[in-house]
């Protein structure tokens, strides 16, 4: 999932207001979770998603390739739907897999079309209600954004450590079974955790050295304003979501 990172472009998807992007993606996630129309609708939803992403300048092939990272999850989802309660079928398993793919792909699109500043802004707005309980929304937003920003770095680090271990004669784990591959991951966890903690410390130092503080009011370098297209996109998404809920749960 190292390819999941912001790739700037100048298209309608990239120009949308950060809150519309974020809420829009969550609306689509809800749609994939709730719609009652089975595999046809899920497949259509994924197709629509890919067309929208392609038209919006997202590198669709690269995004689809990232699905490799959740193959194990997709297999488990399919198996659960095939071997579960009565009525399980290939059709239902396909629907479940398409829904998970849809949710993953929309999340990938959000990360691709949103800069770290936009994601921070979105999460700050999303966590605004928590201020009632005295929780600092900016702190939470920062944690979320750093988590997303550094996911590719941590994955690259895991790959590097795997290579370093294999360079000393450890198995690469290619072609091994699922259990063997999970067992091969265990020696990676402690070095990755230790290096991540070191990296977090370095990042905190770098941010403090540049004067970053959570306390006090902050001005914004990037000002985000809602435009006509943002409102149109928001109403369209709202319509789709409300329609879905209305149809599924009248």
């Amino acid at each position: 999932m190292r390819g999941l990172t912001y790739r700037p472009a100048d298209t309608f998807l990239f120009r949308l207001h950060p809150v519309v992007k974020g809420v829009g993606v969550f609306a689509w996630i809800l749609w994939f979770s709730l719609h009652p129309w089975g595999l046809e609708a899920s497949g259509l939803g994924v197709a629509l998603l890919l067309v929208l992403a392609w038209a919006g300048g997202v590198p669709v092939a690269d995004t689809i390739r990232e699905l490799k990272g959740i193959v194990a999850l997709l297999v488990v989802v399919a198996l659960v739907n095939l071997t579960g309660e009565a009525g399980a079928s290939w059709w239902r398993a396909g629907d479940a897999v398409a829904r998970v793919c849809g949710i993953f792909l929309w999340s990938a699109v959000l990360v691709t079309v949103s800069s770290p500043a936009e994601l921070t802004f979105f999460w700050e707005q999303a966590f605004r209600p928590l201020s009632v309980f005295g929780i600092d929304r900016r702190e939470l937003a920062l944690v979320m954004v750093i988590g997303i920003r550094f996911l590719p770095v941590v994955l690259a680090e895991i790959e590097r450590i795997r290579m370093a271990q294999a360079a000393r004669g450890a198995g690469l784990g290619r072609g091994a079974g699922l259990v063997a591959r999970i067992r091969n991951l265990l020696p990676l966890l402690i070095p990755t955790l230790v290096l991540s903690i070191h990296r977090a410390g370095d990042l905190a130092l770098a941010m403090e050295a540049r004067g970053y503080r959570l306390s006090g009011a902050r001005t914004r370098y990037h000002e985000f304003r809602l435009g006509t297209w943002d409102l149109a996109a928001a109403f369209l998404l709202l319509g789709v979501l409300v329609g879905t809920i209305w149809q599924g749960h009248p």
Binding site: R160, I161, M163, A164, Q165, A166, A167, R168, G169, A170, G171, L172, P187, P191, V194, L195
Partner: protein
């Protein structure tokens, strides 16, 4: 072990970079893989190490197909890439502990091995590998890679960034290692390795060119500058040693080269 390549084509993401290569790396001994930048030297090493699948052909040892798992070490060009533990001691003992060796034995063997690479254990054991100097990092990485004595040792530019003294001492260790294992080295510093080389492969399109002796390669490279770009100083120093045209070039030992270079100046 003798590693025999049979029409091996190495590449990345389905695109062939080097090959088909057919020839042998007889071991034990030190073999060089040389060629211009981008000719596929590192890709070949990574394929032999099992990091990349062969696009076609393959390698075998004796009658058996070559399987790298557990029998090879690969030292990357950037030694920092190999470090993932907090101390040099842990780095050096990792491969031994991973093979089930008890801690005490692994530490004793690791300490001795580290000292062989010019890093006394009492000084370097507890140091963070990322805080070492460039030359020390390279030695620590090579020690950590080779400590489990694999039959095949693959090294990518092991002399990069070392001064002349550092190169000489590392070459002496590598020559010792080559007495007991098959060591394949990718390098641009071909002149430093030539006196130790048992064989040499020049890659750069198609089947490559194999030389069973460093001296044969030197003669060919002097006669055909397009084969490999020997450094001008080395070319001039070898020429300065003088020889009748019908004889093979004299063996360029370090002392002879220094003497010839001094004489020219």
């Amino acid at each position: 072990m003798n590693l025999q390549l049979e029409g091996l084509v190495a590449g990345r993401e389905g695109r062939a970079v080097v090959g088909p290569l057919t020839g042998a790396f007889p071991g034990p001994g030190l073999h060089l893989v040389v060629g211009r930048a981008g000719s596929g030297k590192t890709t070949l090493l990574m394929t032999l190490a099992g990091f990349l699948p062969a696009l076609s052909g393959g390698a075998r040892v004796g009658q058996e197909a070559w399987s790298a798992e557990g029998k090879v070490c690969l030292a990357f060009q950037n030694p920092e890439t190999l470090f993932f533990l907090p101390t040099v001691g842990e780095e050096v003992t990792y491969a031994l502990r991973a093979r089930g060796q008890p801690s005490g034995e692994a530490e004793a063997a690791g300490g001795e091995w580290l000292s062989r690479w010019g890093l006394p254990a009492q000084t370097f054991w507890g140091r963070n590998p990322l805080t070492l100097s460039g030359g020390e990092k390279r030695r620590a990485a090579l020690a950590a890679c080779t400590v489990f004595r694999p039959p095949l040792v693959l090294l990518d530019e092991p002399l990069a960034g070392l001064d002349a003294e550092g190169q000489d001492s590392l070459l002496a260790v590598l020559a010792g290692l080559a007495a007991e294992a098959l060591v394949i080295v990718v390098t641009h510093d071909v002149e430093a390795f030539l006196p130790h080389a048992r064989g040499l492969l020049v890659v750069g399109g198609g089947a490559g060119e194999w030389f069973g002796d460093g001296r044969l390669f030197l003669a060919a490279a002097l006669a055909r500058p397009d084969l490999f770009p020997l450094p001008d100083w080395f070319r001039a120093a070898v020429a300065g040693l003088g020889r009748p045209p019908e004889e093979p070039p004299p063996w360029p030992t370090a002392d002879a080269l220094r003497s010839a270079a001094t004489h020219r100046n």
